[in-house]
């Protein structure tokens, strides 16, 4: 069964057709052409497919494309303001918080969710807030530092 879905993605009205059992991740990647969200596991254990669904961070591999009807989705492709990078994106680059970069879109989305909930998180809150995102390259050190630094900047400090 194919389903037509009308959504808003990164502020734009987007319609796509997907199979009833197709994940939102597959729909985004294969139907809409947004390949920034990655499939690392397909079981919600790595966070590489993280997107925001109606303002909440989710694993898009654990959402059906059909569920997105009428909902708002934000992906990594919509994070920067045109050519102006989001402070998190800039701090990830400055701190070298990525090596291979495959987990980076998911981490950025998750970090944004952490800072949205709490603009001044402790190191522990950052670490637990990002625990749903696996990174195998960095040992998380520079990721946590980049998020701390971005939070500082975003608070206007």
């Amino acid at each position: 069964m194919s389903i037509q879905v009308s959504t808003t993605i990164n502020g734009d009205r987007v319609d796509f057709i997907c199979e009833a059992d197709e994940s939102l991740l597959d729909a985004l990647r294969n139907r809409v052409g947004l390949t920034g969200a990655k499939e690392g596991c397909g079981t919600g254990d790595c966070g590489a497919c993280s997107v925001s669904l109606d303002g909440r961070i989710v694993c898009s591999c654990l959402v059906l494309g059909a569920e997105a009807e009428g909902r708002g989705i934000d992906t990594i492709e919509g994070m920067s303001d045109g050519a102006i990078l989001h402070p998190l994106q800039r701090k990830f680059l400055e701190h070298g918080a990525l090596q291979c970069g495959i987990c980076t879109p998911g981490f950025l989305m998750a970090a944004q969710a952490v800072l949205k909930k709490n603009p001044n998180p402790s190191e522990e809150e950052i670490r637990f807030g990002l625990a749903g995102n696996l990174c195998r390259c960095t040992g998380y050190d520079k990721i946590v530092r980049a998020v701390q630094d971005a939070a500082l900047e975003m608070r206007g400090a």
């Binding site: 947004l34 969200a37 079981t43 090596q99 960095t138 530092r145």
Partner: protein, 754 residues
């Protein structure tokens, strides 16, 4: 004339700075394209059918129903991949591992494949393939596989390296031995001898990006492959050989790579995708699931190791001996051999002997995993070293310093060391504030050392000067963690121009000569060497062109600060020419300006590290928390220090995961029970503290800038460091990794009973 690769001790302007990587923006905006992120017109979805059995004979495969399913464009079995390996046994193993022929050797071994118009159809088609198996007895444990009673995987496997060579087949594929001196005489001199046995479980590299490729072969025999790989030239050569193609007619383009750590040095599904494409005459994309990655790509060995070390009361080690048994899955590798070579490499030993046994079991074919085989050997050796220090009442760092290898030491695996970093890393550890920080209840501190060889190998690099004077740096080593930034710094340094004037690209296999893959910590080491020489060749051309423009002899032109300058008083009124000036005139002075270099990058300096860690163990649950972690490692020269730190931290994190929780868990049925991130349990962000790093720079004498590889050594010490810390926290030696909560709690409970 051979190139002069000697370290010159020059001052650096660019090297050692920390600019933003050239691939950075794409990676924080979702634009970077990885293995699964591309499409081709008319592409099909490829899926692989895998054995549910650990060991079975394939009696029959019936693909007729699958072939008839509408939307199926090709169904493949080993018959479509004939043996073209001409007696090359290791290449035949690769072929057989990609697609089983008469026997499946592990659960997950590929037996057939389909290409269909969509995933749904491909899945249905897999269900329609009927495989008739005769189930055979299996063995998955390395020690059990060595038993004379074990089922033998290959009836013609007679141990290599054993004198006399056995006439009875076994799972012991090869014996190797390293060392020197007389260990028996050494043990006779010892005041104390400790002998202990260790086991380490199998772990996976755990890269977040599953293997993915998009393959095309046309009826003219020309093909293209887009793939996430650590070595696209090597993939090209292997695939071409397995498929009977001309090497030049297969163009392999490396995607961005989502982690490899050794696991993407080996082909798995790529030859299958190419063969499916050839059969279907359409592009075929194969993306492995995470479960397939765990079951059917190459993890590292599980091991069983005995270590015996003798010491005098004054702390002098008199003899060291190890027997290392490493399983390689169903095929012969060099895993135990690497373990045997690395086991005692940190120490200056008069009498040393390491014997390795390559053991075959019904598990996936083992692949390299970051300093392959060294972490397990170091776990065993560093544990015994700590126990010996305790026994003779010596501080563990002082004991190691006393016995550390140094320049001129004959290493346990043969060569004599040049300037090396083991002593300096130990001294830095001794003086590090971490060693003096107080510890609380149930807490323990441990430290351990690690060694890795580092490799060099075949490399070539192009430098092309654009018409505006900007520089294209074209390299053939895959960038796994920031090497494009590092290599751009090297080009900027050599040419005397700003980093921003360089753009580094990874060439496809049609655009550059052969490069070995990014393994052995060779990416930055070897490509930076080639980049230095390519730049110097470009400078020769630039000087020549400038001489033409200035109308003076070329010998009167020097290259300084990114400009051609006329040398000597007679040309004093000639203005220097910039790269841009010279490039703009290139059309009138001889055409495009370029510099190339092809080299076998010898002389990769060996690498050493010392790690310190603090842990707290919950005595009621056996749970271990890492409180503090410090990595001290010699980089030779840190070209881009941020990414050097990143390598140190990443390797430490992988080692911590291995030490505490990661393991392949097999059932009695020979099936892997935890083929997913949920139950494989790699460290998450909240499991780790910040990982402090100390970069030491002891120049590699064989590289113009003193660079050593830095990628792998950091995974070698953590198992030993954590093991020693846990042991200090609970007062019991843990000799089985991972030191998971059930194992630690069992040890604590067991000790109470005695």
């Amino acid at each position: 004339m051979p190139l002069d690769t000697a370290f010159t001790g020059q001052k650096f302007a660019s090297v050692g700075t920390r600019p933003i990587r050239p691939d950075g923006i794409d990676k924080v905006t979702g634009r970077a394209r990885y293995g699964a992120d591309t499409t081709a017109p008319g592409q099909l979805v490829g899926l692989i059918l895998r054995s549910p059995h650990a060991h079975a004979r394939i009696k029959k495969i019936d693909i007729s129903k699958a072939e008839k399913l509408p939307g199926v464009k090709a169904v493949l079995t080993s018959a479509d991949l004939p043996d073209l390996t001409e007696g090359d046994k290791s290449m035949f193993d690769v072929l057989e591992n990609c697609m089983a022929r008469t026997t499946v050797f592990y659960e997950g071994h590929a037996v057939a494949a389909v290409a269909a118009i969509d995933a749904k159809t491909a899945k249905q088609a897999l269900k329609l393939i009927k495989v008739d198996y005769e189930i055979l007895p299996h063995v998955t444990d390395v020690d059990e596989a060595m038993s004379p009673k074990a089922p033998v995987l290959h009836p013609k496997m007679f141990t290599i390296g054993m004198e006399p060579r056995p006439k009875k087949a076994s799972n012991i594929a090869k014996r190797t031995e390293y060392g020197h001196g007389d260990v028996e005489a050494g043990f006779a001199e010892a005041d104390h001898i400790i002998k202990e046995s260790f086991k380490t479980e199998q772990t996976h590299q755990g890269y977040i990006e599953p293997h993915a490729c998009l393959a095309t072969i046309g009826p003219d025999g020309q093909g293209e492959l887009w793939v996430c790989t650590q070595g696209h030239f090597v993939y090209r050569n292997t695939c071409a050989q397995l498929l009977g193609m001309d090497v030049a007619k297969l163009k392999v383009t490396a995607s961005e790579i989502g982690g490899g750590f050794g696991g993407k040095t080996h082909v798995w599904a790529e030859p299958v995708a190419l063969a499916l494409s050839r059969k279907a005459n359409r592009p075929v994309k194969i993306v492995m699931s995470r479960e397939e990655v765990f079951r059917a790509s190459g993890p590292t060995s599980s091991t069983s190791i005995d270590v015996k070390i003798g010491v005098k009361n004054d702390g002098t080690i008199t003899a060291a001996q190890a027997e290392l048994r490493y399983q390689g899955g169903p095929y012969l590798g060099m895993w135990a051999e690497l373990g045997a070579m690395t086991s005692f490499a940190c120490y200056d030993l008069k009498n040393v002997k390491s014997v390795g046994y390559e053991v075959l079991v019904n598990r996936p074919k083992v692949a390299a995993y970051r300093a392959p085989s060294a972490p397990m050997a170091a776990f065993a050796v560093e544990s015994v070293i700590d126990d010996l220090a305790r026994k003779i009442g010596m501080d563990p760092i002082a004991f190691r310093i006393k016995n550390a290898a140094k320049q001129g030491t004959k290493s346990s695996y043969g060569p004599v060391y040049g300037p090396i970093g083991i002593g300096p890393t130990l001294e830095a550890a001794q003086n590090h504030p971490h060693m003096k920080a107080p510890l609380g209840k149930n807490q323990g501190r441990g430290m351990a050392c690690g060694f890795w060889f580092n490799f060099g190998g075949q490399t070539c690099t192009d430098i092309n000067i654009g018409i505006d004077g900007t520089v294209s740096l074209t390299v053939g080593t895959i960038d796994v963690g920031g090497s494009r930034a590092a290599l751009s710094l090297v080009a900027a340094e050599e040419l005397g121009v700003p980093y921003s004037q360089i753009k580094c690209n990874i060439a496809d296999t049609g655009s550059l000569g052969h490069n070995d893959m990014t393994d052995g910590s060779r990416g930055t080491f070897s490509s930076s060497m080639a980049t230095v020489f390519a730049a110097r060749n470009a400078i020769k051309v630039l000087r020549d062109r400038a001489a033409q423009m200035m109308e003076i002899p070329v010998d009167d032109v020097v290259w300084e600060d990114g400009h051609a300058k006329a040398k000597g008083d007679s040309h004093g009124n000639l203005a220097p020419l910039s790269l841009k000036d010279i490039a703009a005139a290139a059309g009138n002075t001889g055409g495009p300006i370029a510099g190339h270099n092809e080299i076998v990058a010898d002389g990769a300096g060996v690498s050493f590290a010392t790690h310190i860690c603090d842990v707290e163990v919950d005595p009621e649950t056996g749970s271990t928390k890492v409180l503090r972690y410090t990595v001290i490692q010699d980089a030779g020269k840190a070209v881009h220090p941020t990414y050097v730190e990143g390598q140190y931290q990443g390797g430490a994190a992988q080692g911590i995961g291995w030490a505490l929780n990661e393991e392949y868990i097999y059932g009695k049925d020979g099936r892997l029970q935890n083929a997913g991130f949920l139950d494989y349990r790699m460290p998450v962000c909240s499991d780790l503290p910040f990982i402090d790093t100390v970069i030491l720079e002891i120049p590699n004498p064989n590289h113009p800038y003193g660079v050593r590889g830095v990628g792998e050594t950091s995974i070698v010490p953590p198992l030993g460091a954590i093991g020693n810390a846990v042991s200090n926290a609970i007062g019991i030696r843990m000799n089985h990794a991972p030191m998971s909560p059930p194992r630690i709690l069992k040890a604590i409970e067991g000790a109470k009973k005695h």
